[in-house]
């Protein structure tokens, strides 16, 4: 299995914000979910990967080559539709079939049919969900091998999200395809992602297989006195209130064997983010 994305020491410096250094690999046939709070650097990372913003340092290899040469095989969806409201759906094809050598008119029309989009409609008339579907159809119609999606499911209703997530899963059924998707909707990522990368204030705090992350971390709810008896090496961070004490625990299996009387619950990606950002670091 070859890596579709390889990032080594990527740094992007702004006056008030620095992304990185970021090291990241995404193997073929997988989906990497990029999570992080607003302003954590997710969009900057995607833009830097594509050379839309020029990285200060580091190297990016996409599909085994430099980003400029890989663009023919990359589909991109941003958090909003990037086609002007003054265009019609069929105009998107008129433009992009001359940009991508591999543009497949039949496939584009198939996606339009599948998503219930009529070519004669003006983009101005489309709802947000429809616009995102159009962006996705345009991203997929040139048969890319890599999809870069920035908040592509934001603001969509659950039914549309489910449809789009199914498309993503179908896309990565090919071992040579991969997806990087940044999203605040961690439940979507829990459904489809194979890997999770967590960006916080420009730094990559976590990057691991999703299942391993969710299995190895746990949420301990106990009395304050009980927490004080626990080996600090297991505790990532804690959240204390007047009524309860919670802790994010690493090596959940080992912990439970060591402390069978304490209850450790599985943790969600949301909880993981909140513990790391809001909790007191151990």
């Amino acid at each position: 299995m070859t890596n579709c994305i390889e990032i080594k020491g990527l740094v992007k410096e702004y006056k008030t914000f620095t992304l990185g250094p970021v090291d990241l690999q995404v193997p073929g046939g997988t989906i990497l979910g990029l999570i992080g709070e607003n302003g954590a650097g997710k969009t900057t990372l995607i833009k830097s990967m594509l050379g839309i913003t020029r990285p200060t340092a580091g190297a990016v290899t996409l599909l085994g080559t430099d980003p400029d040469h890989a663009k023919e095989d990359i589909g991109i969806v941003l958090d909003d539709c990037f086609f002007s409201e003054y265009l019609r759906i069929k105009d998107v094809e008129t433009v992009l079939c001359r940009v991508f050598k591999t543009w497949d008119k039949g496939l584009y029309r198939d996606y339009l049919d599948k998503f219930g989009l009529s070519g004669t409609k003006n983009i101005k008339e489309l709802s947000r969900g429809m616009r995102m579907k159009l962006s996705l159809a345009a991203a997929l119609a040139h048969r890319p091998r890599l999809l870069l999606l920035d908040e592509a499911t934001a603001g969509l209703d659950p039914v549309v999200r489910e449809e789009i997530l199914d498309e993503f899963l179908a896309f990565v059924s090919d071992e040579e395809h991969a997806i990087l998707i940044s999203s605040h909707i961690t439940s979507d990522l829990e459904k489809v992602a194979d890997y999770i990368a967590y960006l916080h204030q420009g730094k990559l705090l976590l990057c691991d297989e999703k299942d391993r992350l969710l299995e190895s971390y746990g949420r301990l709810v106990c009395a304050r006195a009980e927490l004080e008896q626990v080996d600090r090496g297991y505790i990532v961070s804690t959240r204390k209130s007047q009524f309860s004490t919670e802790a994010l625990i690493r090596h959940r299996g080992d912990f439970q064997r060591l402390y069978p009387r304490l209850t450790v619950e599985p943790v969600t990606l949301d909880e993981l983010m909140v513990f790391i950002v809001k909790g007191e670091q151990a």
Binding site: K71, C81, E85
Partner: protein, 220 residues
């Protein structure tokens, strides 16, 4: 690159249609004899100056800048596509003005067709010149700020012209000078569009280099 040029024209479709209607109205006014036929050429310059501003504004509105850089086109070709679009708009406008002139001449409403053709060439050159100045500003500062800066510069040029021409006797003095000039020959008139065309292309090429420099170093 053709895809990007087409995109600009598709976005401008409605605006171009409106401009065509305005042109027809102005041609009608010229036909009625209320205004000189030269007004069509002036209108053309104003229109061609506004169109690239609109395209930049529309692109910014829908984040096309970001998406455009993710396409397998490259920054140089992206800028080149915009310049070709502007050049096509200028040529298209000149052609429309010439057609209007031919129409007016056929209906006996244009007395000096050769002078009108020269005026078309000069107007075309002015349209190219305006865009050659405006486009690097648009690439460097974006549509909102560039618009204000451009109008500021144009206002400055007009003010400068008034300050210089004022002590010399103003427009009346220029008109008097014009009267003293000999009637140009047909050969002299024919060469004006050629010189205007070459000068326009050189200006646009220089402007392109500047815009490519700005866009090439830009973080979108």
């Amino acid at each position: 690159m053709t895809g990007l040029i087409l995109k600009d024209f598709l976005i401008l479709r409605k605006t171009l249609r409106s401009y065509l209607m305005i042109l027809i109205v102005y041609a009608g006014i010229a036909f009625s004899g209320a205004w000189s036929a030269d007004i069509v050429g002036v209108l053309m310059v104003v229109m061609v100056m506004m169109l690239p501003m609109n395209v930049f504004a529309y692109d910014k509105q829908c984040q096309w800048d970001t998406y455009g850089l993710a396409l397998p086109v490259g920054r140089t070709k992206t800028v080149a596509a915009r310049y070709l679009c502007v050049l096509l708009l200028c040529l298209f406008s000149v052609a429309l003005t010439v057609i209007t002139g031919i129409g007016l001449y056929a209906m006996g409403r244009l007395e000096e067709p050769a002078v009108f053709m020269v005026s078309c060439a000069v107007m075309g050159l002015v349209a190219v010149l305006m865009n050659a100045i405006l486009l690097p500003f648009l690439y460097k500062f974006g549509p909102e700020r560039a618009r204000m800066m451009f109008f500021g510069i144009m206002g400055g040029i007009v003010l400068l012209a008034v300050l210089i021409l004022g002590p010399l006797g103003g427009i009346d003095r220029l008109k008097a000078l014009e009267l003293e000039l000999e009637e140009p020959t047909l050969a002299q008139l024919t060469i004006v569009p050629v010189i205007a065309g070459i000068a326009g292309l050189v200006l646009l090429a220089l402007s392109f280099l500047l815009s490519r420099h700005f866009y090439g170093n830009q973080d979108v």
